[in-house]
């Protein structure tokens, strides 16, 4: 056991967890910790807004699968981080957020820069702590990392009063963490696995519906094995993209509000829906009573609260997706009556039907001469990066076009705010991912509105050599809202035209980055090429068709088969 200051102990705990990089912004309440950071080998990435720090930690976590870490000061520092904490919470992303707090003696006194951040973040963290007693500091940090990364992952916040960080604490050896009140359940019940497999054997029109859980549990290989072994088509939620290769013939792409025609039709006609790490979100199901009306439902999820929350499940499997899929693969491999060739044959008529839907209404858009179509931009980015870039997105049409037209073959390559839909997520998340993978191409597919929400992080990217590329699909509108107004509000464009937008090329230059612009279709490819070849942060400003829409679209509250098509 060694004695050291709280600040030293925190740094040691981070090192113990293998943390190499943290994202943060200093202030009076965390100044001791910042002083200690200077002498440590942990890289601290100074952001320009605390929301950026937490999104960057989240981007790091999504890209690597490790716990991302952010450090914020008390009061406004902490509240600035809340949107990003909620973003991570909705998408089950493992991050640990350390916030400074006023000294314990002042808590509750409305002290300078005091805010009850534990109270504020209670509903948007997996768990949170106020460390009142120096002897709890080290155990709390260890527990926080454990909670963030196990079970259904999520953000954990630790509020650190200044005097606790400054006091002397004991640093003892780390023991295996066992919590009386928290025991995530990883292994599937063998009986349920067998039931599920038998239901699959009996099904004529099965569909795999996969979500972010497949990616969080690193189950993409097991999932791919199962789909291919059984010859079952796969549809993905926004969070599930990359959980199964997007270019595989069995991939139907995304389902739901802006899902592909084939995905939504397949679910509607299916007799067995195999949901893996997905949570039947309203953007996926549309009108609930019309969702998969003929299907028996198998649901694999590590979180029991996800099961039968929105849709009644016939065969629940509470388990880690990867363990459950392994169990199912093994069951089929050991089953005497299962014959992969026969299974392929049996599903052939169903796959034919699915293929017909795909051919009848593929993801499409109408060309318009010289005008740049956003879908074309995404397709070209896909092509010129070989489908292998890490793509982050902002929120709105840009996000949906990225999801539809970039073909993700690998997990952890699409980082996007799915659950909360946070505009301003893409740039800081891209910086987080780029810090983790400096050799990878990282591109934020952005909207002109969203990018302005955290544009200040261009300075962060420049300062830390995170040479991310930003592709702005610039329609000079808050486009997704405009699209709703066009379709459902009589084209009354209330507050969606962006009357003043900065010159993004000049803006890039002001930050010491490179700005490129494409005004016509034939300029798209050269601009992307140049951006990819430029050894700097680059903003690409694509002047796209202003009133382009995202299709297919299921109007809110309608059945997913009631799609508006191109």
């Amino acid at each position: 056991m060694t004695k050291m200051t709280g600040a030293q102990a925190i740094i040691k705990c981070l090192q113990e967890e293998g943390v190499s990089t943290i994202f943060g912004f200093p202030g009076g309440a965390v100044i001791d910790l910042y002083d200690e950071l200077l002498d440590s080998d942990i890289k601290h990435v100074l952001v320009r807004h605390e929301q950026g720090a937490v999104h960057a930690a989240d981007g790091w976590a999504r890209a690597t699968g490790e716990v991302g870490v952010a450090l914020l000061t008390s009061g406004p520092g902490a509240t600035n981080g809340v949107t990003a904490i909620a973003t991570a919470y909705m998408d089950s992303i493992p991050i640990v957020v350390l916030t400074g707090q006023v000294p314990t003696a002042l808590i509750g006194n409305d002290a300078f820069q005091e805010v009850d951040i534990v109270g504020i973040t209670r509903p948007c963290t997996k768990h949170n702590y106020l460390v009142n007693d120096p002897k709890d500091l080290v155990p709390t940090l260890r527990e926080a990392f454990y909670l963030a990364s196990t079970g259904r992952p999520g953000p954990v916040l630790i509020d650190l009063p200044k005097d606790v960080v400054a006091s002397m604490v004991n640093f003892n050896k780390k023991k295996k963490i066992k919590m009386q009140t928290y025991q995530p359940h990883y292994d599937p019940h063998p009986g349920q696995v067998e039931k599920a497999c038998k239901a699959i054997m009996a099904a004529k029109r099965p569909v795999l519906y996969i979500g972010g859980g497949v990616i969080l549990s690193n189950a993409h290989r097991e999932l791919t094995e199962l789909a291919q072994k059984l010859n079952v088509p796969v549809t993905m939620t926004l969070m599930g993209l990359g959980g199964f290769p997007g270019t595989d013939p069995l991939s139907l792409g995304m389902l739901g509000m802006h899902g592909s025609y084939a995905s939504n039709m397949a679910v509607a006609k299916s007799d067995l829906l195999i949901a893996v790490g997905a949570r039947f979100d309203d953007r996926v199901t549309g009108r609930l009573d019309a969702f998969a009306p003929h299907a028996k439902i198998i649901h694999i999820d590590i979180d029991p609260t996800s099961i039968s929350k929105n849709v009644k499940v016939d065969i629940p499997i509470v388990a880690d997706c990867r363990s459950a899929l392994r169990g199912m693969n093994a069951w089929f491999d050991n089953c005497d009556t299962f014959d992969p060739t026969a299974s392929k044959k049996k599903h052939a008529p169903w796959l034919n039907e699915v293929n017909e839907w795909q051919e009848k209404h593929p993801l499409a858009y109408r060309d318009n001469g010289d005008v740049i179509k956003p879908q074309y931009v995404v397709q070209m980015i896909n092509e010129l990066t070989g489908g292998d870039a890490i793509i982050t997105t902002e929120v709105g049409q840009n996000q949906m076009w990225a999801a539809q037209f970039y073909k993700f073959n690998e997990p952890r390559h699409l980082l996007t705010s799915g659950g909360l839909g946070t505009m301003g997520y893409g740039l800081p998340a891209a910086i987080g991912a780029k810090m983790a993978f400096p050799d990878k191409t990282v591109i934020d597919i952005a909207g002109d509105g969203s990018i302005q929400m955290n544009i200040q992080e261009l300075a962060t990217a420049r300062q830390w050599g995170a040479k991310v590329k930003v592709a702005i699909l610039n329609n000079n509108y808050l486009g997704m809202v405009r699209q709703w107004q066009e379709l459902f509000y009589n084209r009354r464009y209330s507050a969606t035209p962006m009357e003043i937008t900065p010159d993004f090329v000049e803006l890039a230059r002001a930050y010491g980055a490179v700005g490129l612009r494409a005004r016509t279709k034939d300029e798209v490819v050269p601009v992307i090429r140049e951006a990819l070849e430029t050894d700097n942060v680059v903003i690409m400003d694509f002047a796209i068709e202003r009133e382009e829409g995202v299709f297919p679209m299921v109007p809110a509250g309608k059945a997913t088969t009631e799609m508006l098509l191109v």
Binding site: V118, G119, R122, P123, H127, L147, Q180, T181, Y182, P304
Partner: protein
């Protein structure tokens, strides 16, 4: 349907607010809530009465269980259980009604705990149905104030 949940949770600051925050945040209703320490001072027991369809109760139970500070959740109304609530009622007791009030209280095995020239404060314990019955009977006489504890409940031991 009415359900009585018994929840063991860590006796820590903020733990109770995680429970109540869950109910308000997800739109579940709380009919009554009673909390106090158990024999182990590190653990509190909370009795919560709520209403909802099976699927809602299932969600409530699972969501409660998911809270890191919660140790155990049981829906004790699923089996045999005893429930008790205590109520303090200040009831008008003027010359004409004093004897009547005492008679009623006696029938319900209540106790007078405070006396004034114009009122009695009485204490009554029992299941919610009994409390409601007392209230209904005393209402015409004139209830000035009423304080209820909410229900506490315990599963019956198996009879073998």
């Amino acid at each position: 349907m009415k359900h009585t949940l018994s929840v063991l949770l860590q006796n820590k600051p903020g733990a109770l607010s995680r429970v109540t925050g869950l109910f308000s945040g997800r739109g579940f209703n709380i009919e009554s809530l009673c909390v106090a320490e158990t024999l182990d001072p590190k653990i509190s027991c909370l009795t919560l009465v709520t209403r909802g369809e099976e699927q809602i109760i299932e969600q409530i139970t699972k969501q409660l269980h998911k809270l890191i500070d919660v140790i155990k959740v049981s829906d004790i109304s699923e089996g045999e259980f005893v429930e008790r609530e205590m109520v303090l009622i200040r009831v008008k007791a003027e010359a004409a009604t004093r004897a009547e009030v005492l008679r009623i209280i006696d029938i319900f095995r209540g106790k007078v705990v405070d006396v004034s020239p114009s009122s009695y404060a009485v204490e009554i314990t029992g299941p919610e149905s009994k409390i409601m019955a007392v209230i209904d009977i005393l209402r015409p006489i004139g209830i000035k104030e009423i304080i209820r504890t909410g229900t506490i409940a315990m599963a019956r031991a198996p009879k073998k």
